[in-house]
């Protein structure tokens, strides 16, 4: 009998806790809706640190607006936007025609905002004597045509090519700008033995440790433990440029791009206020602090 009582009490407790949590949540939800709004912000891993810094600062300005930031890649963010699970998608590339079509099919009219500029730095191990590469050499390395560092003036070592995964906007941008030289008819792709690492940190960690490695990463991620390589363009192969805020701003560094935020429709209310704030001078100062390049006034419109 005691057992049976124990069992009944157990069931009762289960019921009570279930009811309790239900009651609790239904009571707290309207409160939340009244007091504060949550903005879900997801996408590009390149932007995630910047988006976090913005969200943290914005919290001090408007404590009642909660902003949740997650990474995952530009494709991930835009897919989430189309699936209506986020309010703002971060992307380090333009929305693809297929994605735009899918969004329109879901009844949206995605709006694009340029929120910062970024350079893709090509990085090697500090022990590697190679300091300069032409764009043609860089492309040949990632196409798999150059496989030893001695062919580009380095030591006799195999080249280990590192890249982000294919869902990364950085991957797609590098493919189009470097490997294909911006030529849209070109169908060349990364050589099959390119290592696809799931995170920017993974690339930095391997380059830092391995003198054979070459990788690329957003300028904001590059640490002092790796060495940036100066890159020259196809037109002026003798002028090598190191990525920095200045060389991106004056467009002399080739591998640079805009960073975007997308909203499902024309933003309203708190989301509009947040994006306006991001484009303000105060938020753009954070862009500079994190190693990205702020957008200049005429680009803001």
């Amino acid at each position: 009998m005691r057992h049976k009582f124990g069992f009944i009490i157990f069931i009762l407790i289960l019921c009570l806790t279930a009811c309790g949590s239900k009651a609790g949540s239904s009571a707290s939800n309207p409160d939340l809706a009244l007091q504060s709004q949550t903005i879900d912000n997801k996408g590009s891993d390149t932007i995630v640190n910047l988006a976090l810094a913005w969200a943290e600062r914005y919290q001090t300005i408007k404590p009642d607006v909660k902003i949740s930031v997650t990474g995952g890649g530009s494709g991930t963010g835009l897919t989430a936007l189309i699936n209506k699970s986020v309010d703002i998608a971060n992307a380090s590339r333009h929305i693809k025609p297929e994605e735009l079509e899918a969004a329109k099919k879901a009844g949206m009219n995605p709006q694009e905002f340029v929120i910062a500029r970024d350079a893709i730095a090509v990085i090697v191990n500090p022990e590697n004597p190679v300091n300069y590469l032409t764009l043609a050499q860089l492309s040949a390395i990632y196409r798999g045509e150059i496989t030893n560092w001695k062919e580009v003036g380095g030591e006799d070592r195999p080249i280990v090519k590192l890249s982000r995964e294919t869902n990364s906007g950085t991957h797609v941008f590098f493919l189009e700008t470097v490997i294909r030289f911006g030529n849209t008819d070109d169908k060349t792709i990364f050589s099959a033995d390119t290592l696809l690492l799931p995170s920017s940190e993974g690339i930095i960690a391997e380059v830092k440790e391995n003198p054979n490695a070459i990788g690329y990463d957003g300028l904001g991620y590059v640490t002092h433990e790796v060495k940036m390589v100066a890159i020259s363009s196809l037109e002026t192969p003798e002028v090598y440029v190191i990525p920095s805020a200045d060389t991106v701003a004056d467009s002399s560094y080739l591998i640079s791009r805009n960073l975007f935020m997308y909203t499902p429709d024309k933003p309203t209310g708190e989301i509009e206020a947040y994006i306006d704030w991001i484009l303000s001078a105060e938020a753009q100062q954070i862009v500079r602090e994190l190693g990205f390049v702020p957008i200049v006034d005429n680009e803001r419109k």
Binding site: G73, G75, T79, L195, N210
Partner: protein, 303 residues
């Protein structure tokens, strides 16, 4: 009197409990069935929409519509088999040591330690892999990079060992002490008794342990994704184990978030899921087939 009064009540309780347990049992069949149906529904259209020649080509680059799954199948098989080869001797050795050889106090220290090892999240092992094992293998084996199938196999071995140890050790413990005493009484040494009597008697359980270990290695994603380099290359020769590979699980994990629902890429990822499902099914069927065969033989000998 009291007994009689209680009996019907007890029976009702029994029926209730039995039916609850029954529902639990059947629900797991239902879940497996539903998972299979879902996988087939999402994945099979890939066979229709993507040309077979493309599916069985050697290049995986989904954003350009290249869906060659051969390198991925190869990567999974290579890493899983090597991990099993690493985990098997270590796991069995540890299990035999704990169950048969070690004095009581060592046993009481070792068992919890193995259980702690089983509880370490694989992503933590992946971190240790990236920071310690990858650089170590690159320098020690003089490889272009430490992000290789071998590194993945070593980590997976580490992940599979606790499973193998705890299940195999339980199996060895169920062997009646009389078997060992008989072996020793016949003049066999301790090692001869272990190898000739105890281990064969526990064969079924040990086999289950190995299969569970393989299953663990096959399904592991995070640690593998972090240390194998994820390059979808087919083997060029025997040293493929020291080159980067991309496994099926890592492919699904890293690409599922980005794909548009219903696209070709999405379907092919589900097709890979079906293949993984089939692989683990084959492993399970082999295991149960071998163990029933063994049991029948054992029953014949004992009777």
């Amino acid at each position: 009197m009291k007994e009689n009064r209680m009996a019907p009540k007890k029976q009702i309780g029994d029926t209730v409990i039995t039916s609850i347990i029954k529902v639990c049992g059947y629900s797991s069949i239902l879940f497996v069935g539903l998972i299979l149906v879902f996988l087939l529904k999402e994945g099979l259209p890939a066979l229709k929409d993507v040309p077979i020649t493309s599916l069985f080509s050697i290049r995986w680059y989904p954003i350009e519509g290249l869906f060659g799954i051969l390198p991925l199948i190869f990567g999974t098989l290579l890493v899983t088999i090597s991990a099993t080869l690493i985990a098997l001797p270590f796991g069995l050795g540890t299990a035999i040591f704990i169950s048969e050889v070690a004095p009581r106090w060592i046993k009481e220290i070792l068992k919890p330690i193995v259980e702690i090892l089983a509880g370490i999240p694989s992503v933590v092992l992946g971190f240790i892999g990236i920071l310690v094992i990858v650089p170590f293998f690159r320098k020690f084996l003089d490889l272009p990079t430490g992000l290789t199938a071998f590194t993945g196999a070593v980590l997976l071995g580490l992940i599979a060992i606790p499973t193998i140890v705890s299940v195999a050790e339980d199996a060895l413990n169920t062997v009646p002490p009389g078997y060992r005493q008989a072996g020793l009484a016949l003049g066999a040494t301790r090692w001869q008794t272990i190898w000739g009597v105890t281990v064969p008697a526990a064969k079924t359980g040990i086999l289950t342990a190995v299969m569970l270990g393989i299953g663990r290695a096959l399904g592991e994603t995070m640690a593998v994704m972090m240390v194998t380099g994820n390059a979808p290359v087919l083997p060029s020769g025997l040293n493929a184990i020291f080159e980067p590979v991309r496994t099926m699980t890592a492919t699904i994990a890293s690409e599922m978030g980005e794909v548009a629902t219903g696209s070709q890429h999405y379907q092919v990822l589900f097709l890979i899921g079906i293949l993984l499902f089939l692989l683990s099914l084959v492993i399970n069927i082999t295991a149960s087939a071998v163990s029933t065969k063994q049991r029948k033989r054992a029953e014949r000998i004992l009777s």
